[in-house]
């Protein structure tokens, strides 16, 4: 009696709820709607992006309970969360790494949708909402980096302000609105807190709703097949028919893969967070500490690199016009190519585009981590002149080595592979430039090198050139492993006969 009575009462409850809210109807159309049976593992990335967004919301809400969005206290509150709040560091680590994961999943999702031609008729709006979500996600990532309120955040804002400031006519006003004043200050942090915590997440939730609604309305696309061309005249009818015939309910059939992938991704996320910990905060955001080398987070390193490599003459134009045009082009893609083949095998141009962009972003990110264009600001005092460049030098050449450090040549030039990478490595400079050429290069500069003619006395120049002319490359290591051993040890000669030089010779 108890069992059936209980069941009956529960059912009545559900009916009551459904009568007042219509929840069953919503559930049926969102959870149990039919999706193409070909929607398999390629379709998990959108769900994963959304899941990481939920992680961000949950962890962000709790972080906001401890974070003090005030320029005077933000840094200390982060240290407090790291050190004093129970599992606070883990919370920060999850929030930080989940942000990276969300961007990564979003990128994979975007590339997958692009390569599969899913943006074509009739899913134009789904794509456009998705592109807007992508822009919002990048905005969340940038504003989140500002929340850290360390030196990188401070100077990152400076870079942002300098870019906005380049805009003609409105630049000044926009920069004022961005900074909340004429300087980077507490008002700036408050503004970015508002953006990061209210405005951008709110917009993201709204757009996510639209994105999901448009997915439900027009259906999940099928896996593209070469030869199956999208034709607006016949597509909708054909799709509906195929889904009715061979489709499977989203839950549980298609959702199973989402659940497996998302669950695994969550576990990996927690593992990474536990292993690598939270990001920062780094150095104090003190504008008077000049010995700072601001670097953006990994996601934005390619922009940092591009800013160093853009030609100065067109830099402002590219900075201000490039991103909006690029985003608009991506967003309007469904109207540029609304029909036709969806399969990547029939769209070589799209595949090529993805390859080129991915390579470009990868190379720029790699360059951004190296930042060879930046002087190493403390190389002159911290990077020793190695003993092999000191031994057997004349007293004048030793003074020249000192001058090389003292005049901060080392900040831009490496010797023996250590030092700045902005200028050429000078380990073998004496093989390239004669004494007189060295003098001229130092005095007059050129080739992106400042002129030192006014700074160095004749004796200092002579010493410097005396030192540089000892850098004949003899200290260079052999590029081919084992080549030096082969030269120096006699029993290494019969290498061709099968014997190897013993490593004990080294």
């Amino acid at each position: 009696m108890g069992g059936t009575g209980w069941k009956h009462r529960a059912l009545r409850c559900v009916h009551w709820l459904d009568d007042r809210t219509g929840v069953l109807w919503v559930l049926r159309h969102s959870m149990f709607h039919r999706v193409p049976s070909s929607a398999k593992w390629w379709y998990v990335f959108g769900s994963a992006t959304m899941m990481f967004f939920m992680v961000q919301v949950a962890s962000g809400i709790v972080l906001a309970m401890f974070y003090a969005p005030s320029a005077a206290q933000a840094y200390e509150s982060l240290v407090y969360i790291n050190e004093r709040v129970p599992s606070g560091w883990m919370l920060r680590a999850i929030h930080g790494w989940s942000s990276n994961a969300m961007c990564l999943m979003m990128l994979v999702h975007l590339v997958q949708v692009f390569l599969h031609g899913t943006y074509k008729y009739p899913r134009e709006l789904t794509w456009i909402f998705g592109v807007c979500l992508g822009v919002l996600t990048l905005g969340l990532a940038f504003t989140g980096q500002i929340m850290r309120w360390d030196a990188d955040a401070y100077w990152g804002l400076g870079i942002g302000a300098a870019i906005v400031d380049r805009m003609p006519v409105f630049g000044d006003a926009l920069r004022g609105i961005m900074l909340g004043g004429t300087q980077i200050s507490g008002a700036t942090l408050s503004r970015f807190f508002s953006l990061h915590v209210f405005i951008l997440p709110g917009l993201t939730v709204a757009l996510l709703g639209l994105h999901l609604y448009s997915i439900l309305r027009k259906g999940i696309s099928e896996m593209p097949k070469a030869g199956e061309v999208v034709d607006p005249a016949t597509y909708a009818k054909g799709y509906e028919e195929r889904v009715r015939k061979t489709g499977v309910p989203f839950y549980p059939d298609a959702a199973r893969r989402d659940m497996v992938f998302c669950g695994a991704a969550l576990i990996v996320l927690v593992g990474i967070a536990a292993w690598y910990g939270p990001m920062g905060p780094g150095a104090l955001p003190d504008p008077t500490i000049i010995e700072a080398s601001p670097r953006p987070d990994g996601l934005f390193l390619w922009i940092f690199a591009a800013l160093a490599l853009l030609p100065p003459s067109s830099e402002t134009f590219l900075l201000l016009v490039g991103p909006p045009v690029a985003i608009a082009l991506v967003a309007l893609l469904p109207f540029i190519a609304p029909r036709g083949e969806r399969a990547p095998s029939r769209r070589p141009l799209s595949v090529l585009l993805v390859c080129v962009l991915a390579t470009g972003a990868g190379v720029l990110t790699w360059l951004g981590t190296l930042s060879p264009w930046s002087p190493v600001m403390d190389a002159w005092t911290s990077t020793p002149v190695a003993p092999e460049f000191v031994a057997n030098r004349s007293p004048l050449a030793l003074q020249g080595a000192l001058e090389f450090q003292f005049a901060q040549c080392r900040n831009c030039h490496a010797i023996g592979g250590r030092g700045g990478m902005r200028g050429p490595d000078l380990t073998d400079v004496a093989t390239r430039l004669s004494w007189d050429q060295l003098v001229r290069q130092i005095q007059q500069g050129g080739g992106n090198m400042p002129a030192y003619g006014k700074t160095l006395s004749s004796a200092e120049t002579q010493a410097l050139v005396a030192f540089l002319s000892t850098l004949d490359g003899n200290a260079l290591r052999a590029v081919i492993p084992g080549a030096m051993e082969a030269q120096s040890s006699p029993d290494a000669m019969p290498v061709a006969a099968g014997t190897r030089p013993s490593s004990g010779d080294r």
Partner: protein, 178 residues
Amino acid sequence: MSQAPESIEAPSPAPANENRRGFLFAAGSTLMAIGGVLVAAPIIGAAVAPGLLPEKDQWISLGAAANWMPGTTVLVKFLNPGGAPDDGITRENACYVRCIEAGKFQVFAVNCAHLGCPVEWFAQSRLFMCPCHGGVYYEDGSRASGPPPRGLFEFSWRIQDGTLEIFSGRLPGLQEGT
């Protein structure tokens, strides 16, 4: 339970009431518009005011002009004139004062003219170097190499009662006329 979506045709009004309804609708729209503007003005105004009504630059004292040795360039701290206690250490700011000879100065912003990173002064090579994208400037602030489109930003300065003062307040940017 679920129905096909109903038609969204507006019910046609009875002819006798048409005038009254039209008036009510017009009045309602007008009131909503006025009320909306009244509410929106302070909300949007507060958000964008810093851009439209920026604080003016002020003369800021850096200390006695006799403090600086001719031929030197030093980093000097000052407080942002419009700053609030809530700004913490970001209320502080810095500039480079170059004393060419007694009573003759050049005052540079620490922000690189490229994208605003902090340039570092190297007294030995008499160069300013930027850690971000490698901009380099000579001691008179002129561009030596790298991506900056111009020399370092300069502040106007004056000596008032033996005190060196600079005209500052705004984070310098490329729109600056200096």
